[in-house]
Amino acid sequence: MNKLALSAAVAATLGLASNSFADGPIDGTIYGKINVSVVNTDQNSSDKWKLNSNASRLGVKGKTKITDGLYAVYKAEFEMCVDDGDCKGQTFTQRNIMGGIRGSFGTVWAGKHDSPTKLAQKKIDLFNDLEGDIKNTFEGENRVSNIIAYTSPTVSGFSGTVAMIPGEGADVDGDGIDDTGLTDGMSYSLSYSKDNLYLALASDKDVDSQDLVRMVMQYKIDNLKLGAMFQQNEDNQGTKDESGYFVSAAYKIDKTTLKAQYGFIEDDVDGDEEETLSLGADYKLSKNTKAYIFYTDNTDSEVDSSDDEDSSFGVGMEHKF
């Protein structure tokens, strides 16, 4: 069976299944966004223009009631590259994919997914998916394969997630021995949310070869949204021991949101430093569509070496559906 026929067969089968067995409304929603920007990047005095896709995506998510208070929950999200159609040689690449069971006890879920530490960052990164994305400066922004997690119910504003990541034979802790256990990597988060305040404490152990602790705060005062993050991480080879901070602010004036963020991290092992600074503005064209401009400067300073400076400015649009 060729790929087209296979596609049609799968589509027809799932369509039939949905229509034949669904009791009431179909429990699923397609969602996604297109986020494209025209960017000029200047890397060490060499500049170029490019069109970026910025993690444009297509997903489906939903829940299905099993019994009263017990649900199957699922989400499957794929990145699509609207700039050139080439996502690392693929048409679509996998983003967060998970399935789980949710009840009054909380949710047990598994898949390939952002770690609890990455999720705990919430949305303090105001230039997410752009050149100023904090993943370009800070460790801990990991989408992890083979994650098995439990998320507690929210009680008095508190919620926690603990995740296990089996090594499946890889040497995740760098001790020269293949890891085959259930908890070779671990990621945790505890958050508190009430009214306009959000606080989170998160930690990774042997995730992406790092041990990491992260604290996140977000506070909203009328039209002003403030974010802050403190992080300490070290790799399990002993070659990196970083600590740093990140702050962001967004101020909304009618349809315009002014944004700024700054991050700094220093490696205590070799003295290297990394900085990120981004400024920008969003203009809301409709509920689901915005245009934006930004400027980002990422600097990587190494001891006994000249700075590696990467600055960008761009204009783009994002449409969510």
Binding site: T29, K63, F78
Partner: protein, 167 residues
């Protein structure tokens, strides 16, 4: 199993399946970025419940006891028309609970001898005061329905289920 990127053919198959399976009913207020948030599980559950609620409502069904809403009235019944179950909003107490859902109700009477204060007009006015109290920056009325007051023929309760706007 170690992860690999999705192969093009299978990716196309999955997306085709999603589009053709009838799952494409994206009328709920789920923000795409909510899928990557720390409370993404809550958002999925909440959004799909709202979707079910809308579907039920559109189908003429009474509705959606499963929606996570906060009741703004007690279980006490009225012995006479016109008694307000809950004080209406006082000036200066306005606040906004973004994306939270509530159910409020107010009594009214259709009895021929009902007073003006017991009219449905006044009930609606009081409901709007309550909605403004909890959703100072705006709201969306998700459902409205009426139940008879079993203790007094001709008396009813008008219910509004509403949700505060996102911003």
């Amino acid at each position: 199993m170690n992860s690999t990127d999705t192969k093009p053919g299978y990716g196309v198959a999955v997306i085709s399946a999603m589009l053709l399976s009838g799952a494409a009913s994206s009328s709920c207020d789920f923000d795409t970025d909510d899928a990557d948030g720390p409370d993404f599980l809550d958002k999925i559950i909440e959004c799909e419940k709202q979707q079910s609620s809308r579907d039920n409502s559109e189908g003429g069904s009474k509705a959606s006891s499963s929606v996570e809403v906060t009741k703004l009235y007690g279980e006490g019944s009225l012995t006479a028309s016109g008694i307000v179950e809950r004080p209406v909003a006082a000036p200066g107490t306005l606040s906004h609970y973004a994306k939270k859902s509530f159910v409020a109700r107010q009594p009214y009477s259709l009895r021929p001898d009902a007073k003006f204060e017991e009219s449905v007009t006044i009930a609606i006015q009081k409901l709007h005061l309550e909605m403004a109290h909890y959703c100072a920056r705006g709201w969306d009325i998700q459902r409205q329905w009426t139940e008879a007051n079993s203790q007094q023929q001709g008396d009813f309760f008008l219910h509004y289920q509403f949700r505060c706007t996102e911003t």
